[in-house]
C-alpha cells in the first residue's frame, strides 16, 4: 500500500510550532486589518427609504446576481438548496476510486472539470454582482461613475409553453442520453441511477449560464411559462 511508503513525523514540536506561527501571523493580519479599515456602517435602518443599490454581503452577491435572470424562488431558494444537496451527495455519486487523497487531475478529469466550472461560475457571479452592479442593479464597469444614467433594459419576451417544454425536454434528454449513445464510458463507471443523478445535477448547473446567455443574447425572460411558476 501507498500508506507504508509515507514517512511519519512527530506533531510535537514541529507541527504544533507551525500552527503557533500561523496563529500569530493571522492575529497580526487581523489586528492590522482592523486598525486600517472600519467595518461598513451606513445610516440607521429606514424602512421607507431603500438603499440604491441594496447589495447583499459579497458571499451572497452571486445569488443576488441570479435574481436578474431567475425568479426569486429559484435564485434564492431552489439554487442554494440544489447546490447544498449536490455537494452533500458528491461522495456517494462519485464512485471513481482514483485520486483518493492526492492531487490527481488525469484520473478524474470529469469530476474536477465540472466542480471547477461550478466553483468559478459562483465566483464569477459574485464578482459581477459585487463589483459591476450599480444603482438600479444596472451594469457599471469599475471605471464608470455611478452618476451616469443608463438606459432601461430591452423588451423581454418568453417562449410559448409548448416550445419551452420541448426545449427543456430536449436539453435534458439529449444531455442524459447522448453520452452513453456516443459510447462514452461514464455510464458504465457510475451505474444507471447514479449516472442519471450526476447528469441531472451537471445539466442543471450548465443550465444557469445557458439561461443567462439566452437572456443577454435573445432577451428571453422565461423559457417555460406556466400558470403556477415560470422558469
Amino acid at each position: 500500500m501507498e500508506r507504508s511508503k509515507s514517512k511519519k513525523h512527530f506533531v510535537w514540536p514541529d507541527l504544533a510550532f507551525k500552527e503557533f506561527l500561523t496563529i500569530i501571523a493571522l492575529t497580526i493580519i487581523l489586528i492590522i486589518w482592523g486598525l486600517l479599515m472600519n467595518a461598513p456602517l451606513r445610516e440607521m435602518a429606514a424602512p421607507e427609504r431603500s438603499e440604491n443599490p441594496s447589495k447583499a454581503p459579497w458571499y451572497f452577491a452571486g445569488l443576488q446576481e441570479l435574481l436578474v435572470y431567475f425568479d426569486p424562488w429559484i435564485a434564492g431558494v431552489m439554487i442554494p438548496v440544489i447546490i447544498a444537496a449536490g455537494l452533500i451527495i458528491i461522495p456517494y455519486i462519485d464512485t471513481n476510486p482514483n485520486g483518493r487523497g492526492s492531487y490527481t487531475f488525469s484520473l478524474r478529469r470529469f469530476a474536477v472539470i465540472n466542480f471547477l466550472f461550478g466553483f468559478l461560475l459562483w465566483w464569477g457571479l459574485i464578482f459581477i454582482g459585487y463589483f459591476l452592479r450599480g444603482p438600479n442593479w444596472q451594469l457599471y464597469l469599475p471605471w464608470e461613475s455611478w452618476g451616469t444614467v443608463k438606459e432601461t433594459e430591452n423588451y423581454l419576451w418568453s417562449l410559448s409553453p409548448a416550445i419551452g417544454l420541448v426545449c427543456i425536454a430536449v436539453y435534458f434528454g439529449a444531455g442524459i442520453l447522448l453520452p452513453p449513445l456516443m459510447s462514452i464510458d461514464l455510464y458504465l463507471l457510475y451505474g444507471s441511477l447514479r449516472y442519471v443523478i450526476v447528469m441531472t445535477l451537471i445539466l442543471l448547473m450548465y443550465a444557469v449560464p445557458l439561461k443567462i446567455f439566452l437572456r443577454l443574447a435573445f432577451n428571453i425572460k422565461y423559457v417555460l411559462v406556466t400558470s403556477w411558476f415560470n422558469l
Binding site: S50, D71, Q138
Partner: protein, 174 residues
C-alpha cells in the same frame, strides 16, 4: 383485526415494546410540534394597521391627467405608512409602495411620473402598474374608505392585488 390474531401474533413483550416506543415517539412528536408552535406568536406588536389620510377635498384633482389617467400622486404618507394616495378622474386609491419583486421601497419620480425600485430596477407607472424590471405584478393597493367624520381611512391590513383592483374597498369614488 380479530381477537384471535391479536392473541396469536402479539406477545406481551412485543406489546410492551410497541407501547413503550409508541409513547416515546408520540411524546417526541408533541415536543417538536410544541417547539415549532412556540415560534409563531399569537399577538404581534406592530403599528396600527389603519390611518386617517385627510379629507377627500385635500386630494383634489390637478389640472391635467397623465397618459395613465392619473391626476396626482400624493406622497404625504409614504414615509410613515409606505402608502401613496393616487387621484384619478373620479376615484382615489392607496398604493402600497413596496416593490412586488422583493419588497424594497420604490421612489416616486414626479417629473418622469414613474415609481423606480432601487434594488433590482423594477419600474411602475403612476397608477402602480409595472412595465419594466423583474416585478411580477402591479403595486398592491390598501383598503380605503370614508370614516364617520368624513376623513379618508386607509386600512393596511386589507391588501388588494391587481386582480382585485375593481372590487369594492380597493378604491373610493369621489
Amino acid at each position: 383485526m380479530t381477537e384471535h390474531s391479536l392473541n396469536s401474533n402479539v406477545t406481551r413483550r412485543g406489546f410492551l415494546r410497541i407501547i413503550g416506543w409508541g409513547s416515546f415517539f408520540v411524546t417526541l412528536g408533541i415536543l417538536i410540534g410544541g417547539t415549532m408552535r412556540f415560534l409563531f406568536p399569537r399577538v404581534l406588536f406592530e403599528r396600527p394597521s389603519t390611518f386617517k389620510a385627510g379629507f377627500p377635498h385635500e386630494f383634489d384633482r390637478k389640472d391635467r391627467a397623465d397618459e395613465n389617467g392619473v391626476f396626482e400622486v400624493y406622497e404625504k404618507w409614504k414615509d410613515e405608512h409606505s402608502a401613496c394616495l393616487v387621484r384619478e378622474k373620479n376615484r382615489i386609491y392607496a398604493v402600497h409602495v413596496k416593490c412586488t419583486h422583493l419588497g424594497c421601497t420604490p421612489n416616486w419620480f414626479a417629473d418622469d411620473r414613474i415609481f423606480k425600485c432601487p434594488c433590482h430596477g423594477s419600474q411602475f407607472h403612476s397608477n402602480g402598474v409595472n412595465f419594466a424590471g423583474p416585478a411580477p405584478r402591479p403595486l398592491d393597493r390598501f383598503g380605503i374608505s370614508i370614516a364617520d367624520d368624513g376623513m379618508i381611512v386607509v386600512d393596511k391590513s386589507r391588501v388588494y392585488t391587481s386582480k382585485d383592483f375593481d372590487k369594492r374597498g380597493a378604491y373610493l369614488n369621489v
